[in-house]
């Protein structure tokens, strides 16, 4: 049997989000329900038509609670994807597959998180210590930023990336946030002097190499391409989808294979481009997972925007800014809009294709959205009619 590619068979037709803040009063469950209701309203689809859910394994609000609160109908597909922010785009991909294969007709993916006012996951020393953490954390690589700092220093050593290259990324995201009223960093400029003078969090990574800590919730609504054409909003089709867990990969402490600097995005990219009519040169705008700035060069290489080791140099000459070679993270991303495990990158990708972004790329017809690099990951290539 010849498989039928997922290409353009399902679309995102509704997006919703709460406000973003360091502290929001409502519970994660309440925030999730509000975001989902807004996304359904945006799509013009009644809650009782919802028959599919997808979320991250780290999502603390569960399908039973959410479905009964928002008023979903009989649900026939529900899926969870692991590995923190690596699961973001996979929630959309799984719904697209469910819709394309007839397992469901109206899907909702969501992320609700009070990371701004809630605990930092790395402070949970009970649940995070088993394999492979016992080989790294007791020696002081306690946090994701420490694990990525090790990879970053090696990358700088091998390929000559500088702190200014990472600064270019932080500043590009901040510039977009400055024009986005929903962004936490809406009113706060960032200069290269600010960046280079910032305190170190895990040398060579400084404060501005790290994402924000945010409370907020977001959701998307998905239907088949046929139905999408009759919805209230222009569809953002899932043109291609890929997940990636490379052979002999070890998660964020990926030190134990031949090339730790070739991460999961290489595997996800191979799958993504395999069934795509488009290539990296056709991408008008990209939303690239940015929990830490060095994930950008690693992802740019993995998804084929430049060669291995060229990701730092790629950031030069305003390449990531509006009007540059590849505008990225046009809402401000995790670094400067909100850190909600990358789900705000998905909704911003949809806005770009609708032409409603606060930092609109003129005529954008394709948008790549990626999930967390350095953990088992996922990506979707969105396009419009």
């Amino acid at each position: 049997m010849t498989p039928t590619p997922l290409k353009d068979r399902a679309a995102i037709v509704g997006i919703g989000q709460t406000e973003f803040a360091k502290h929001l009063e409502p519970s994660e469950k309440a925030l999730a329900c509000r975001a989902i209701a807004m996304a359904l309203d945006d799509a013009g689809i009644a809650a009782h038509e919802v028959d599919a859910f997808a979320a991250y394994t780290m999502e603390a609000t569960d399908e039973v609670e959410v479905a009964k609160a928002v008023g979903a109908g009989d649900v026939t597909f529900f899926s969870r994807v692991g590995f923190g922010g690596g699961g973001s785009c996979a929630t959309v991909g799984h719904l697209a597959m469910a819709i394309a294969t007839g397992q469901a007709s109206v899907g909702v993916a969501w992320r609700s998180r009070k990371r701004g006012s809630g605990p930092r996951p790395w402070t949970d020393t009970v649940n995070q210590l088993p394999t492979p953490a016992q080989w790294t954390r007791p020696f002081g690589l306690l946090r994701p930023v420490d694990e990525i700092a090790v990879l970053t220093r090696r990358y700088m050593h091998e390929y000559g990336m500088t702190r200014e290259h990472l600064g270019n990324i932080a500043i590009a995201c901040r510039n977009r946030a400055n024009a986005n009223p929903a962004a936490i960093m809406h009113g706060r400029k960032l200069t290269m002097d600010d960046y280079l003078g910032a305190r170190m969090i895990s040398d060579p990574l400084c404060l501005f190499d790290n994402c924000l800590e945010t409370d907020g919730a977001l959701a998307v609504v998905m239907v088949s391409a046929e139905r999408a054409r009759d919805c209230r909003q222009p569809p953002a089709y899932v043109h291609a989808f890929g997940q990636g867990l490379p052979a002999q990969h070890h998660g964020m402490v990926n030190y134990w294979n031949d090339d730790p600097l070739a991460g999961p995005s290489w595997t996800a990219a191979k799958q993504l481009w395999k069934h795509s009519d488009l290539g990296p040169e056709d991408v008008d705008v990209a939303q690239i997972y940015d929990a830490f700035t060095p994930l950008i060069p690693l992802s740019l290489e993995g998804y084929g925007f430049c060669g291995k080791g060229e990701g730092g140099a790629f950031t030069e000459d305003g390449a990531l800014e509006l009007g540059g070679r590849l505008p990225i993270n046009t809402s401000g991303g995790g670094l400067s809009e909100a850190y909600v495990h990358g789900f705000n990158l998905i909704t911003e990708g949809v806005r770009q294709l609708r032409g409603t972004s606060a930092n609109q790329v003129a005529g954008a017809s394709t948008c790549l959205v990626t999930a967390g690099e350095a953990v088992p990951t996922s990506a979707v290539l969105l396009r419009r009619d």
Binding site: T123, T136, P138, F139, L142, A149, V150, R153, Y255
Partner: protein, 141 residues
């Protein structure tokens, strides 16, 4: 400080460390050396293992220097370097550990000035006590 979690697969590593030996899990069937330890050899699917003694020599592959916010015991000694050491035997065998002053493995994890550390510097293994468990650490020879 956090005590390393000793699971079934990794227990021999710590037993040998207590004797001052750096040994790595090795497939008894095909000879593949594995790290981190695991229940099956990914090359031949063997489930019998020996523990091969390493030279204890390697070089610094990379390092980070964490600063707060950190868990209290670590914040108290920050900034401290954490090194990833590539063993001389195989570049895939990279151990995360602490770099300690040359003459005293039990010295603090902040005993080496991070400014003196460079990628590529040769190191050799020493063993130190971490919360009652012998663990591998590194010193520049």
């Amino acid at each position: 400080m956090l005590r390393p979690f000793v699971d079934d697969d990794g227990a021999p590593f710590f037993e040998y460390a207590a004797r001052g030996e750096l040994r790595m899990q090795t497939c008894a069937g095909c000879g593949e050396v594995l790290f981190p330890p695991r229940p099956m050899c990914p090359r031949c699917q063997g489930t019998e293992f020996a523990w091969k003694r390493m030279s204890g020599r390697g070089h610094i592959w990379s390092f980070a220097v964490p600063r707060p916010p950190l868990l209290p015991d670590y914040a108290a000694v920050a900034p401290y370097p954490v090194v990833v050491v590539e063993l001389a035997e195989d570049r895939r065998l990279r151990l995360v550990g602490n770099l300690v002053a040359d003459d005293d493995p039990q010295t603090g994890i902040d005993s080496v000035d991070p400014a003196t550390i460079e990628i590529g510097q040769p190191v050799r293994v020493v063993f130190r006590d971490l919360e009652g468990l012998a663990v591998a650490a590194w010193t520049r020879r």
